[in-house]
Amino acid sequence: MTAITTMAPRHASTHTPHDKASRAHVISVLVENKVGVLARVAGLFTGRGFNIESLAVAETEDPTLSRMTIVTSGDARIIEQVTKQLNKLIDVIKVVDLSRETFVERELVLVKVRAEPEQRAEILRVTDIFRGNIIDVGQKSYIIEVTGDGDKIRAFIDLIKPIGILEIVRTGPVALSRGSKAIS
């Protein structure tokens, strides 16, 4: 027999070492707006050991459709499996890994902060810098709303934390690809 050169290992996760780095991906999923779809998608992630960092979902302009924005992480092989497995679900109509193109993302955070009289000016100033709004004013607390990408939200939280956060809720990002291209 002829001489044989030993090839790189065939293990799918080791074949392309430069794709091994795990990083966050934003995946947009257009789904049927039906009972059980969220459970199917969430179950797929847990069942196959994929991460969900966040998941935002609501109806689209067409009430029979919902759009999910899922933030997940993994190396190239895992992300490929995530998109392929999502595509296999009958109720999933379209899957796009937005991280492969340019996209915009926004997240909404509501923060309830301690707002004693001496803290209010500082809270208003920080909120203003982040173009946020005070949407509830109580005797001793405010609720602030801020939208932005993940970095902005994190920066805001870091600044407001020393003042005293009572409660916080984040939507997780929602995202769309830039330009006129549409996923449908």
């Binding site: 027999m1 002829t2 044989i4 030993t6 090839m7 290992p9 065939r10 293990h11 799918a12 080791t14 074949h15 392309t16 789904v31 049927e32 009972v35 059980g36 459970a39 199917r40 179950g43 797929l44 069942g47 092989r77 490929e80 499996q81 392929k84 497995q85 595509n87 296999k88 679900l89 009958i90 109720d91 999933v92 109509i93």
Partner: protein, 562 residues
């Protein structure tokens, strides 16, 4: 004219051409059962819903058409779960109907309520709860369409009691329209040309063929391609039968208990052509040592998620195996090449390995070897006999020593490895083909998991022949304990219980027993010649092991030969 949900259910099945349902009645499906009594459909009353799903699965594997079963809510539905996962892992088309408590009490912990839709979400290709009788016909249409197209699989349809009782106008949709579901059947022509070119350049190619080739009914195309390009063929456990084991290009099964020559061919091949196979861990052995010398891997699969999942593929082709092979053959035929001459050295090498380490065992005069029983069955059974199995040593010996020559004659649980599959799937196959011989090759452990279905076999006088290879142990568990757990046989001894001949007779079947090697042939001859249901117990050597064996986590090349 308005019809009840139950009448619509039956009408839909008839429109789908369903001839048989495997089921078990209960409270919330009584309206459906009432209509079934007068329907021109055979209902086979199984003794347990797991058996019903396996029987429908056996029916589906033997015929290629969706198997249908019907169970009641709660425990009836939960008993279906193992059958659903078995079918889902092996991509078998099923439509499983479960009854549900009335919509008015769903979620109230009503009597015999179980959230079977939720429980089975990861167990099915798709599933439905039918909440309005108006949706029933469309749902059933979609269920059959989804189960039988693309990569086949089980579909669950949960029907609340009030939906089967409510009435509406019946109109069966001409077609199912599902916007999120469009399987790819045609392979990409450019990829098919690349595949043909790669095949032409390969010195040491192997065709590695799985159950997808059977689902796609691609046996003729596979054979044509293999003969055209003079390339040896190895099949997975689920692929057995798609290529005749008697063919001189056949290498038998590969993987953990595969033949030496098939595994060596995989190790030494410069091209591996995966055809409807998914690089399962039982096939590849340790992944980082798999296919070390393969410069090219081509993979046809109808399921894109199987491509690149475990093994990197150079030429992926998403599509239906039969359709893609047809197109590939046309391209290959345009290539001018002396395939036979060019592959002679490679085929000689493979045949050398086969001669060096054939499958072997030693049958003495004292104790019966499981392999000998399989070889005897293989000699006695007609070519079109359908063989079913449980899971364990008997299954692996059957895979190694039975000479399968036709697709859809080997029904076994591969992916899930479901003990207890043998008897109920034999029922499904026998119902599908009343005039063919159906032989269940079972182990004593597997048989006991569903042995109550003997009642079904006898009630319907199905001439199923069950051969129990009885070694009084969970044989494969014992084998692992011997090899990897210092011969500490923790809870793998089953004892000499029950008396299988008496058990068979208690159900009204004929029982036979062989305990000495010289009794095997006459006992099996007599068992197979006896009309009606038969159980033949063959007491085998419990020390015998399945070889070759690639230990879990080892490379294919590290297989243990004996």
């Amino acid at each position: 004219m308005k019809k009840s949900g139950a009448e619509i259910f039956v009408d839909c099945l008839l429109k789908e051409g369903v001839e048989v349902i495997f089921g078990h009645p209960g409270g919330v499906v009584l309206k459906i059962y009432d209509i079934l009594l007068d329907a021109p459909l055979l209902h086979v009353l199984m003794r347990h819903e797991q058996g019903a799903v396996h029987a429908a699965d056996g029916y589906a594997r033997a015929t290629g058409r969706a198997g249908v079963c019907l169970a009641t809510s709660g425990p009836g539905a939960t008993n279906c779960v193992t059958g659903l996962v078995t079918a889902n892992m092996d991509a078998i088309p099923l439509v499983v109907f479960t009854g549900q408590v009335p919509t008015t009490v769903i979620g109230n912990d009503a009597f015999q309520e179980a959230d079977i839709f939720g429980i089975t979400l990861p167990c099915v290709k798709h599933s439905y709860v039918v909440r309005r009788v108006e949706d029933l016909a469309r749902t059933i249409k979609e269920a059959f369409f989804i189960a039988q197209t693309g990569k086949p699989g089980p579909v669950l349809v949960d029907i609340p009691k009030d939906v089967s009782q409510a009435e509406t106008e019946f109109k069966y949709p001409a077609e199912a329209k599902i916007r999120g579901y469009a399987p790819t059947y045609l392979g990409h022509p450019g990829q098919i040309r690349r595949a043909a070119k790669a095949l032409a350049q390969a010195q040491r190619p192997v065709l590695y063929v799985g159950g997808g080739a059977i689902s796609s009914n691609a046996a003729p195309e596979l054979r044509e391609l293999a003969e055209l390009i003079h390339t040896p063929v190895t099949t997975t456990l689920l692929g057995l039968g798609v290529f005749p084991e008697t063919h001189d290009l056949a290498m038998g099964m590969l993987g953990m208990h595969g033949t030496y020559w098939a595994n060596m061919a995989m190790c030494e091949a410069d091209l591996i052509f995966a055809i409807g196979a998914r690089f399962d861990d039982r096939v590849t052995g340790r992944l980082d040592a798999f296919a070390e010398k393969a410069e090219t891997i081509i993979h046809i699969d109808i399921d894109p998620s199987n491509i690149g999942k475990n093994v990197h593929t150079d030429i992926p082709i998403v599509g239906d195996v039969k359709t893609v092979l047809r197109a590939l053959i046309d391209v290959v035929k345009t290539i001018k090449k002396d395939w036979a001459g060019d592959h002679q050295e490679w085929l000689d090498t493979v045949r050398g390995w086969a001669a060096e380490h054939p499958l072997r065992y030693h049958q003495d005069d004292e104790s019966i070897k499981g392999q000998y029983v399989i070889e005897t069955i293989s000699k006695l059974a007609p070519k079109d006999a359908i063989i079913t199995s449980g899971v364990g040593q008997h299954q692996m010996w059957a895979a190694q020593f039975y000479r399968f020559t036709q697709p859809r004659t080997w029904l076994t649980s591969g992916g899930l490895g479901t003990m207890g599959y043998c008897l109920p799937s034999a029922i499904g196959a026998q119902v599908a083909f009343p005039n063919r011989m159906v032989i269940g090759i079972d182990g004593d452990g597997s048989f006991q998991m569903t042995s109550h279905e003997l009642a079904t076999v006898v009630q319907y006088q199905l001439p199923v022949k069950i051969v129990i290879l009885n070694n009084h142990y969970l044989g494969m568990v014992k084998q692992w304990q011997e090899l990897f757990y210092n011969k500490r046989y923790s809870h793998s001894y089953l004892g000499t219980i029950p008396d299988y001949v008496k058990l068979a007779e208690a159900y009204g079947a004929k029982g036979f027993r062989a305990t000495k090697p010289h009794e095997v042939l006459p006992t099996l001859q007599q068992a197979f010649a006896t009309p009606g249901p038969v159980v033949a117990e063959v007491v085998i050597d419990s020390e015998e092991k399945v070889y070759p064996m690639v230990p879990a986590g080892a490379a294919l090349r590290e297989m243990v030969l004996a």
